[in-house]
Subunit: 80 residues, 2 copies
Amino acid sequence: EQEYDDEGNLVICRLSAKRKVTIQNFRGANLVSIREYYYDGGAERPTTKGISLNEEQWSTLRKNIPAIEKAVKDMQDRDM
Amino acid sequence: EQEYDDEGNLVICRLSAKRKVTIQNFRGANLVSIREYYYDGGAERPTTKGISLNEEQWSTLRKNIPAIEKAVKDMQDRDM
């Protein structure tokens, strides 16, 4: 049921054809990776365009989601 | 009250000393940027280590937060 990518990381979702969110286990730590990939032959390989967040960084991002939502909405309102 | 960085983007939060979440306006579109910065003299400049999500990608990420949380928790439980 769970999908793993060509790097062996758990795929949470795709954000676009080339971008996806995965969970990586790096030296015992879980990282939430938001990254762009490219195709190398048949395999999907990570690019440097992306960021892997440790649990503390992910937790900080998560807590700030209302602030992000508000900022995006404020900008949309201003653009109208 | 709102903080803007050296690139003129709205700072939502810092994830670490070098990483932050900002809202960029790029050609009329709002991007949620999660990125690492470096210091160039006194100014903070973006590195390629990071990703800027358009509103659709951000929306997809946001909807998948419960799945990310579950995956991180499952891995923590497995590690214990």
